[in-house]
């Protein structure tokens, strides 16, 4: 594994210079779409563009935009002459991976966040002063963003691998690749949970019926209960593993991105014309 910081900087400069028009137009497109959506919500919502809506929209924008731009990070490999030029450039696969990593995992999310916050601040001012909706300005809210960023960082390694794996229709194929394992994994996980729980009931359930509901992969099972013959009044229980056992599953979860990034490195290194 050869790595030179000098070549890394040169490659980063080259990436920006060659793609500057694409990045500028892409940013303008994101900002334009955000403005249309935000103004529509502010003008047509009963309470304007509310705090909760601003928060939800940020999470969606961050995920969708980062995945879109992420799939195009190796777009020079899409054409034969682009591939020749890219592969003949005197840089190692690790340097190429490092530049793509910096863009996809750090710079794209930061740029999207900046664009979103800028658009949101402007729309919020219009919402308050012109449309008369006194909505609080959203500027990060703690736990929700951590969850969004966690999901993003779990998805981006897959995007990363797909970006180098698929030469044509990268975006569409990546979306399919993201959906298929999520659906399969969720279905498999739910089936597994159901099989484990089966029709088992606690020893002293005293007329209360427990129903298996769902399971969050590698984190907890969700079970609801209700009294037999009674409508409504369900309670939800999350069955969590003891902390000394949970770390094994957490570690497994953390290893998934590492595996995908390593596969992307191998694919870059073994890339042929």
């Amino acid at each position: 594994m050869k790595f030179s910081f000098h070549r890394f900087i040169l490659l980063l400069k080259l990436q920006f210079a060659v793609n500057r028009r694409f990045y500028l137009l892409g940013s303008a497109a994101v900002a334009g779409l955000l403005f249309i959506y935000m103004f529509f919500r502010a003008a047509n919502g009963d309470f304007g563009f509310e705090f909760a809506a601003q928060e939800e929209s940020y999470d969606f924008t961050l995920l969708f935009s980062c995945i879109t731009f992420g799939t195009l990070v190796f777009r020079q490999f899409g054409s034969r002459h682009g591939r020749i030029q890219a592969l003949m450039l005197p840089v190692s696969a690790l340097e190429r991976l490092a530049v793509a990593f910096l863009l996809v995992f750090i710079l794209f999310p930061l740029a999207i966040t900046f664009i979103y916050m800028l658009c949101n601040a402007l729309v919020n001012q219009v919402d308050i002063h012109v449309l008369g909706h006194p909505n609080e300005l959203y500027f990060f809210n703690g736990e929700v963003e951590i969850q969004a960023v966690t999901i993003l960082f779990l998805l981006l390694p897959v995007v990363f691998l797909c970006a180098i794996w698929f030469r044509k229709l990268t975006f569409v194929k990546t979306l399919v690749m993201l959906c298929v394992p999520i659906l399969v994994f969720s279905f498999f996980n739910s089936m597994l949970g159901k099989m484990m729980i089966s029709s088992t009931q606690p020893a002293n359930h005293e007329g209360t019926r427990f129903i298996y509901w769902a399971a969050t992969p590698l984190r907890y099972l969700t079970i609801t209960n209700g009294t037999e013959g009674q409508q409504g009044g369900f309670r939800t229980y999350n069955l969590v593993l003891p902390p000394d056992q949970q770390w094994i599953f957490t570690l497994f979860l953390c290893l998934i991105p590492v595996v995908f990034i390593y596969l992307a490195y191998l694919k870059l290194r073994e890339q042929e014309l």
Binding site: L10, Q85, P90, V91, S92, A93
Partner: protein, 278 residues
């Protein structure tokens, strides 16, 4: 400098492109790689520079294994592709971005080559014609001072004066430790430039000979009638009589006609190849 031993390559297992290719290239020479369409010329070049990986056999270039594509190897090998797309920027910007990747790059040589082609140093790349863009790329390739320069159809798209200029620039730029391989169909363009001829046919290199050795064994003549000369190996009729390729029994000095030679080898393999294979 370049050593290929029993190299096999195929895109699909059932369709071989290169079969048992053995090749040695030395520094200080310009090689002309000739072959019919689909003979595998580009594939051979891509195997040499690490863009394609051989199925079996060994390939060593400047002491490196090309498929590893180490930066130290890529700094010494430059491939000029047949098709290319230059970024949307001017020449000085292109130079600032790409030249630092090549430690031996010479900006003054680059300017000199551009001048020879008649291209301004501040031109915008997208404002140039395809042929002029190719000239910029040729100038860049030579200015990298890479030890191995591979050129795939470099004269395609060049006008007649540019082809002449190309020959002049290449001949003047070759350094002692440098080797240039030119793959082309337009063999006439490179007649006076090539030191050694490589012919690819039936998925392998069937001939590798210096021009001096070819003209020593074969004579190239223009005659009005075929009776004027002893039985030629190969002849082509034209308005001004016949161009013939014959065995050079009288040690005549003749100028090699690359196109005639290539056509002669393709048509009369059994007669020509034995002359060189002993």
């Amino acid at each position: 400098m370049v050593s290929l031993q029993h190299l096999h390559f195929s895109y699909k297992k059932t369709v071989p492109i290169l079969r048992d290719v053995n090749l040695e290239l030395a520094p200080g020479r310009i090689y002309g790689l000739l072959g019919k369409n689909g003979a595998g010329k580009s594939s051979l070049m891509y195997n040499i520079c690490g863009l394609l990986f051989p199925a079996s056999g060994s390939c060593s270039v400047l002491g490196h294994t090309p498929p590893r594509r180490e930066p130290a190897f890529l700094q010494q090998v430059y491939l000029l592709p047949e098709d290319f797309e230059l970024p949307d920027m001017d020449i000085p910007h292109y130079l600032r971005l790409y030249a630092p990747f090549y430690p031996a790059f010479s900006p003054s040589a680059f300017e000199e080559y551009l001048k020879a082609f008649g291209i301004g140093t501040d031109e915008h790349l997208r404002a140039l014609s395809h042929g002029q863009q190719k000239q910029v790329l040729i100038s860049f390739a030579l200015a990298t001072n890479a030890r191995l320069i591979l050129m795939d159809e470099p004269t395609n798209g060049l006008d007649i004066p540019s082809k002449r200029q190309f020959r002049k620039v290449i001949a003047g730029s070759l350094q002692e430790g440098q080797c240039i391989v030119i793959s082309t169909h337009q063999v006439k363009d490179l007649d006076s430039l090539i030191d050694e001829v490589l012919i690819l046919e039936d998925h392998r290199v069937i001939l590798q000979q210096p021009v001096s050795s070819i003209t020593e064994k074969l004579s190239f003549r223009q005659v009005m009638s075929l009776e004027e000369t002893e039985a030629p190996i190969y002849s082509e009729g034209g308005l001004k009589g016949y161009a013939v390729v014959a065995v050079n029994r009288r040690a005549e000095q003749s100028r090699m006609d690359m196109e005639m030679f290539f056509n002669a080898v393709m048509a009369e393999k059994e007669k020509i190849l034995p002359l060189f294979n002993h």
